[in-house]
Subunit: 203 residues, 4 copies
């Protein structure tokens, strides 16, 4: 994908996620794979609901900026870790919600979602009569170390769902393209909000 | 109704239901009866908040596409089941909300709503001093089988309300026309949100 | 006030209250006093978030339509009851919220709000260090009888706040003009949402 | 900063905070430091979501209006107290939310936030692995007295966070400029909403 098209898709994704309340303050970061070696990713520190085309930059799969004057999101290495590990990943979204923050703070190492029609938004699940178990990793300001932990975790998993939670921090999802990533994010956050509601009621 | 007018009404309904948070990801599907034998219905897999006129197609009352290159929503047969059974049905809406998902997962075979002013949105209820009992059917990826279950259920009911819930999946409502169906959906979801709130408080 | 200006203010009020989620389905009705004998009020059965100027009509203080072909909201007599009793009332708003529905269903005959900064939105309260006690009247499809009950209730009250709740049905507020009525409605609904939240936590 | 630019930023901040539900009725007030002796602040009594440039006025650091015909927000002295005490403060925001109202009513003299990624929005916190303790001061219609209480409180604090809560009344945050203040407000309110949710679940 050309950078201009990727930047436009990233700007539009930010507006949508802001409307859904998923990118408060400077929270969230988004990327799109441009080719075998590069991705377009949001720059650091902007409000993701009000991005412009200039707030999207290019890094390689190790997170090095093509233009060294620019600084990408602190969590760029998590995006790189997804593109390196999953060839089918074409777009990555990270957002913060009350549900993903509260549930990930209370969860142990994983969170299971079962019996929701919207589980169909995840690949390889032909029916709702299944479950998805998302890893929950502890938050860490050393992003490279967090990514190494994810790499180790993924090595031992048979079926890796296209998403995970970071404790008290937020959710990551990916998909072949940005529209699918957005729908997967909406599906995940909807199910997390339902889970939160069920826990309110002591179930 | 002509297809163009029906498609425009369906596109507008999707925008409204998205603004109300009722069509996350690819959730939801909508239809309008065109004549004695055909309905306009949403195609499969689109986000219902961002439909275009081309995302609406024609099927017959058995769910067969007029243009075989198009694929309608997986739940088209539930729309057909409503139009076949209820001659007064002119528009059908299906949406997902946190309230209808959580309540339908916890409910048995029915959910009763009583004492709400907005019950007046349902037909044949001259006063709020009444109740509506909505069937709750188990979710099933075999839509034809789910519809046969509904047909059997309706046969044994004296008063059939224009709506039902599917466990962990969402709500269906219908009405003579799309504006009335939208108002009925808003009324239903408002009452379900009140029910959920009352259950939070242990009542 | 001239009818055109009143209708424009009523249309705008409906858009605002819809954005705040206070007029689901056909819920809600609004009015503005035109002169000593007449008021402008919403017609029956419309969605209040999508009103046009033609959806506002004129009735006298007994609720009789100036143009007999038009039918005003079923609750017009509650508006008339407010204008007859309170000379300072210039605009009346009625809306439904989850908070006002759930709290009014659980309340007895009154609901007290205390210790909120936004109590300043009510007249005669120079400080937050006060309380407002709103009457809660039982819902009744005989609107004239409900109004007679309110008249009796008001007769025995020393300080009458510019608002009340109807059980399971919604809230009424009034003020000298529409902008003040809208702010009072927002203040009331904000405090009710806080009350609901405190009750969730068992306080 | 010139008054026109400050007024435009204040008008835009009001629209954003209204979209986030933080300025119900006439709640909230905002200011920007113009120079060493003056600030631009909202006039009293307006709805902050619908401000115009004319709803912003100039006062000195003691809260005296430059144009004596204008009356600034009742809480102007709290803005002045922040600008006098913190040279780095360039913009101040005050808003009301259900979370800040309910939590400040239940809190004692302080509220601690710990383990949230969004704590990074506060200065001097390089990691999420920290906590912020916000003062909670009792509400008081004597604003000068409330400010004296804050001055005394701040004198005894080693690290003063750029924000505080007023019991049953709302939150204040400040930052070098308005965009940063808005992001800090969003981060604070997001964390308060998470706290409220955790308390709902009895944690």
């Amino acid at each position: 994908m050309r950078l201009e098209a990727a930047a436009a898709a990233i700007v539009a994704a930010g507006r949508r996620l802001d409307a859904l309340g998923l990118v408060p303050a400077t929270a969230g970061n988004f990327s799109i794979r441009l080719d075998a070696h590069r991705l377009a990713v949001t720059v650091s520190g902007r409000h993701k609901g009000f991005l412009t085309m200039d707030d999207v930059m290019v890094v390689d799969l190790d997170g090095r900026a093509e233009d060294p004057r620019q600084r990408s999101s602190a969590e760029t290495l998590l995006h790189c870790g997804i593109y390196r590990r999953f060839p089918e990943a074409g777009a990555v979204l990270h957002g913060h919600s009350i549900a993903n923050t509260v549930l990930s703070r209370a969860a142990g190492r994983a969170l299971s979602l079962a019996g929701y029609e919207l589980l169909k938004a995840f690949p390889g699940l032909p029916t709702h009569d299944a479950s998805v178990t998302l890893p929950v990793v502890p938050n860490d300001q050393d992003i490279a170390r967090m990514q190494r932990g994810l790499d180790t975790l993924w090595q031992d998993m048979a079926d890796i769902p296209p998403g995970y939670l970071i404790g008290g921090h937020g959710s990551y999802v990916w998909a072949p393209d940005m529209p699918t990533a957005l729908m997967r994010m909406e599906a995940l956050e909807f199910m997390l909000a339902c889970e939160l509601e069920e826990r309110r009621q002591g179930r």
